[in-house]
Symmetry: C2
């Protein structure tokens, strides 16, 4: 794996710290120090204005613009939708004696910035030296409230070190922001003005008519003068603040943002509702709000902290991951999803992929089941779009988009959007996983089964019968391994479809038995027939699963074993990433794979495969995998741990927790790898913790990397909270709240209580 | 085959005639009545201005514009180049008493138009009735000179039927023409003015700086007054012409066009050179020039006419085809190629495909070897581009573009431009075919072998070894059958590559023996090594050719026999063309094929396959072919004729000659199917004539459709001219000029002389 860390930041187990300012790394830091609260996110751009390299990024979950795609053929998308760069609600300009602060041109020293996991805030400070020798220490704080969706808070502290005087601050709301990827601005203003202590503006996107209200109030004890400033798509205040040498003057700004995608709501109604919310912060106390934020995070760490002793790098790394998973999503807004870069940049256009169900969902299922459910609600809410999309593709049922912001397909590469079928089965797997761990049968019967049936209908019409094999499967597909572009009978897709059919039928059986009236109502509403159920059963039974029975190795797709061989270690490091250095078509002509495909389903349905099968397939596929997807190493780490390759497991893991902190892929400047961050959590819990959650019992088989003294992680399971603590001698597994639960630990099923189960690791023999 | 004729035009064996004007068919007729002389082409739009549905199309071979492609990945094209819609040199506006002629709004009667194959001109006439009852007969003639590249001639005859008076004619050169496909104009003016009786303008394209001079002179005996008119990108004359009741007043316009793509030539130089040419037509005689045009065509028909007795529809059809092949290309300009729509519309962007070598070249080889050679010169001239393109694709040697106007790749669908490899082998086949028929060894040694070596280098680096099969072949390709989008070991590609390697090595052997010094110079210049020759030999020997040995059926590609079956006759006619009615990805998931692929190589290397093999493969593949390419039916007709399916052969043939005249594909409005027109010629000569030209001897095995009384066709062969005449009783094959030639006729090889060979068809037993 040609992944090399770019060590730069200070290692601290509860913070990310940057000492000194490196303009060439500024965009990377802007991503890493991003803040978010699932409703909105903001990059750590210098809010005072910066003429150097910076991406001013302020995003609102699900707020999107669109452009027309010059479509060639039927079934290829017509509109490209993307998360639009929105209001710069932190907009600030600072000047002293007519000299304006700009870190690209101003003289400054003692620059430091911190992201505080415990308080959920971003703090930056430095001493600015003016051309006449005046020195002023500036401290910028900001946080995005985890308690109130639209609330963003900013504090600036001015401390003149060797003079007294005045500072002029322009503070405002700026809708003239450029969406960099598209090279243009997408906003016009509907309304703006000042009333009740609130300075506000209502913007609207040009094509989609998404609206965003932003209104702020300031608290500036030493203000000498305040003046309203209005300009094109901008409203703000010019504030003159008195400075006394050696004393701190504070500037606090409280912003209420309110996004509205419903076109039917009148501007006046929207304005007055948002305005009322904003008014609550007139004269607010920054300290009080900041403390509420700290309380929220305190609770997060109580619920979800993973403690690693003896490895501060990975301790920092995994906390950064958990911090960002909560920042990106925690389930207060059921209509939202998780973009590949969260709310931290324009890359991947803010779109959600199968990553949500395949990589992020387990974290939420085991930490925050409400959030897990809310993510599944996104798919239920967007079911009508998936039904439409299936029709576009001449199929029945529901075809979930490979990349989406609003439930419609937004991937403009037809080879991905039309050939990748694995979102639907990921959703189905997610439903099953969520329900099995939480016992939320209500969700399953009320919404889950309807999705399962519609997804099954798609898979029953998209597939075909092989003329020679007589078996069912999928032709013209791209599996999770995107280095095999258009193949037949991808083993992952076929296996997942088989499992989908079987599970759908199983849930139909159980619901028709246990909730027959509701079932009948559902069946009537969506015209479920016995014939189609028989059809699914038949197709599941005759699903083609290419495999070499002698070696036990599954064939990734028809003909994969004949693909020309390439020793992946012979590829010069300078040729990575291959997408940039190899001709596009060349990527697809080897037995080289981009990310786990066969290994992915062996992980997802771990219970179905023997250790020997896992070893055989791991040996074969790992040696052919270049991990060009950042999601890849963790799955390999988990399997390596299971088959006893401890060293290899740790090597793959090192990449996972610090992917962005150490800028492994050299593209963190574009935004965080938010969904890969979720894989880091899986890496510890499934990998070293040895958890498996796909069978009838939860399994835990903890091991520990030799480098670590100990580690622990909590999991929510069947309404109980279980704590797993592991050190080099042994593991302890106990219930910390709720009822006793049944868990299989190293081959024995225990009734785990508050007393807990202790395992002597030296006694445990690898299966 | 869901192809149905739309009979509309008058059947005449030497003309295309339309009686009456149908505005809804105007664009179709504009294509059909197009004129061209390989240097330029012009659609039959009403030059007097028409506010109805019309495509004002004036094109110059190889004159192109370009647009940037937002490329995602390496190896995908960055510039889309296309033949640009150029000056309207026929621009005319006509008014009488302030009333302006416009066929969309004016009252008129007795509309008729004709395209005359013998004189190579387009004539249109009607009677215009003004609002005050005045009637004037107008006759418009135009021709594009086959003798002088840039020369276009226009005549308008005015005959007032019931009044005397004046007509005002504005005649000019208009560069404001809109390129419809791109929705904009691509020209600005460099210079314009009047001198020496010439009114001229020099335009330049915006991005590519291609230049086009256009200068005209008029001869108007009854002119009362003439005035210069200049406007934005326009220059012209306003001429008032005296009209006398019952008398004809003529207006003649002679235009010299001169296109220049060489950026290094100064404007002044270009202007004065083109101006000198234009001056030659001041005071010219229309009648004289028109007679020279007729003489040219007289000679064409002497050389190339196919005479069919007893079938006026197909007689007209095949003459229309031959007429258009000459109009599109006849070899005076070696730097030109043949666009899929010739010079008759914007569709396919004026780009040339493998059609040139695979479908058009045989016509030229056997009718006009100079033109055949000139077409191959295009590939030699563009070899540097093909070398660059191979590098783009991480390969060596030359990769010829799937679609091009200037030698660079201009197909913006990566799946075609990167996966379709068959232009290179088509070029190689074309070289071999041309040389075998003409004995032009000089061309082979001077240019042909260099191309063969570079093409071989590409095929030796693009291919790979199958890991299981141990055989060589091509992975990730699209064969001629575009309904199998990305496959491995397409049998056509593999077979053609094998033949390419073998032929290249054969020519190397022969040239090193017979022209050793020149060979050594070539080998040194392009670093030909023994190792690579050994490599080609090895790869040719171990080329994978998937085949079922039991049935003798070649497998189109790995896994084709397992592709889900579809009874193509079950597809409702309303779903054609499938590209418009089926989801794009769905097209590629069946054993349904778009056009011949296995059958194509069985035709190209006819000599290599037994009749039994041809029958087995025809039965299998024809029943799976939907002929969505207009090139498809003729190849099937040729093979059907060979295997004795006479009725089927005739059914496929019916489509070929009248494809555009009867608007079979309902898209003739976009332009003629110029390259399919060439397939119609092949259909008669290879199909009914039974010619095969791929072996060591020319083969002729004539048959005749039962519906025909007789037919005859001439062919150029080894510097002799051979005439084949067939009627229901027998065939006669004789040399009409040149030396005796050796031809295999029905299994016997004859030395054919002016005496000729006669075959009694009733005696001939099908092999």
């Amino acid at each position: 794996m040609a992944k090399i860390a770019d060590k730069y930041l200070v290692v601290d187990t509860w913070k990310v710290i940057e000492k000194g300012f490196d303009p060439s790394r500024n965009r990377v830091s802007e991503s890493i120090f991003s803040l978010g609260n699932e409703y909105m996110g903001v990059r750590a751009y210098p809010e005072e204005g910066y003429s150097g390299d910076s991406l001013v990024g302020s995003y609102f979950n699900g707020l999107f613009e669109e452009g027309k795609v010059p479509a060639h053929y039927k079934g290829i998308i017509r509109f490209l939708r993307f998360m639009v760069s929105a209001v710069d609600w932190l907009y600030t300009r600072i000047s002293v004696n007519g000299e304006t602060l700009d870190l690209a041109t101003s003289k400054f020293s003692d620059f430091t910035r911190e992201l505080d996991f415990k308080r959920g805030k971003y703090v930056r400070s430095f001493v600015w030296e003016l051309s006449d020798g005046k020195q002023i220490k500036l401290t910028f704080e900001r946080f995005v409230s985890m308690n109130v969706s639209g609330l963003g808070c900013q504090r600036i502290v001015f401390e003149p070190l060797n003079f007294s005087g005045e500072v002029n601050v322009r503070a405002g709301l700026d809708f003239t922001i450029i969406h960099e990827d598209q090279g243009r601005n997408f906003w016009h203003t509907v309304q703006q003005g000042q009333a009740d202590g609130i300075t506000a503006i209502l913007g609207e996107t040009i094509n989609t008519k998404n609206r965003l209200y932003s209104g702020f109030t300031t608290v500036v004890p030493n203000a000498l003068q305040t003046k309203l400033v209005e300009a094109d798509r901008f409203i703000g205040q010019d504030i003159t603040i008195k400075l006394v040498q050696g004393e701190a003057s504070t500037f606090d700004k409280f912003v209420n943002n309110y996004a509205e995608k419903d076109l039917s709501i009148a501007n006046e109604h929207l304005w007055s509702k948002a305005h009322e919310q904003a008014k609550a912060y007139v004269g607010a106390s920054y300290e009080e709000l900041e403390q509420q934020q700290a309380d929220y995070w305190d609770n997060v760490w109580k619920e979800s902290d993973i403690v690693i002793e003896g490895d501060p790098d990975n301790q920092q790394g995994i906390r950064f991951c958990i911090f960002n998973l909560y920042q990106t999503y925690h389930g207060d807004n059921p209509g939202f999803n998780i973009g590949a870069k969260g709310l931290t940049g324009e890359a991947y256009r803010g779109l959600a992929f199968w990553d949500t169900e395949s990589y992020c969902l387990p974290f939420y299922i085991f930490n925050n089941p409400k959030a897990a459910k809310s993510l599944l609600e996104f798919r239920y809410k967007s079911l009508p779009h998936a039904l439409d999309r299936a029709k576009d593709l001449d199929c029945k049922g529901a075809f979930y988009p490979i990349a989406t912001i609003d439930g419609t397909e937004s991937c403009d590469l037809w080879q991905h959007s039309n050939l990748q079928l694995h979102v639907g089965t990921a959703v189905a797997y997610g439903i099953r996983h969520y329900v099995n761990i939480t016992d939320d049968i209500d969700f399953l019967y009320e919404k889950g089964l309807e999705m399962l049936i519609q997804i099954s209908r798609f898979y029953a019409t998209r597939g075909q019968w092989g003329q020679q094999s007589g078996l069912y499967g999928y032709f013209g597909v791209m599996g999770p391994d995107e280095f095999q572009l258009m193949v037949n009978n991808n083993c992952y897709i076929n296996l997942m479809a088989k499992k989908l059919f079987e599970y759908t039928l199983e849930v139909i059986d159980s619901m028709s038995l246990h909730s027959s009236e509701a079932f009948q109502a559902l069946a009537d509403r969506i015209d479920l027939t016995n014939e189609e159920q028989a059809d699914w059963k038949h197709k599941a039974a005759f699903m083609k699963l290419p495999k070499d029975n002698e070696t036990g190795i599954f064939e990734e797709h028809d003909g994969f074993f004949d693909m020309p061989h390439l020793d992946i270690h012979s590829i010069p490091v300078t040729e990575f990433p291959l997408y940039s250095h190899w001709s596009y078509d060349r990527l697809y002509r080897y037995d080289m794979i981009k990310q786990p495909d066969v290994l992915m389903f062996m992980f997802l349905y771990s219970d179905d495969y023997s250790l020997a099968e896992k070893i055989a397939n791991y040996e074969y596929y790992e040696s052919r995998c270049i991990h060009e997807s950042s999601l890849s190493p963790s799955i390999h780490s988990i399997l390596a741990a299971e088959i006893g390759k401890k060293e290899e497991a740790y090597q793959f893991f090192e990449f996972a927790t610090r992917l962005d902190l150490d800028n492994y892929n050299r593209n963190t400047r574009e935004g965080l790898h938010t969904t890969s961050i979720a894989a880091a959590w899986m890496n510890i819990v499934y990998g070293f913790g040895g958890m498996r959650s796909d069978g009838s019992h939860l399994i835990l088989q903890p091991t520990i990397p030799t480098k670590w003294d100990s580690y622990s992680f909590p999991i929510s399971y069947k309404e109980s909270k279980v704590l797993v603590e592991v050190n080099q001698q042994g593991a302890s597994i106990k219930v910390v709240s709720g009822d006793a639960v049944s868990i299989a630990i190293y081959g024995h099923t225990y009734n785990v209580t508050v007393e807990g189960i202790k395992v002597d690791l030296s006694q445990v023999v690898q299966q």
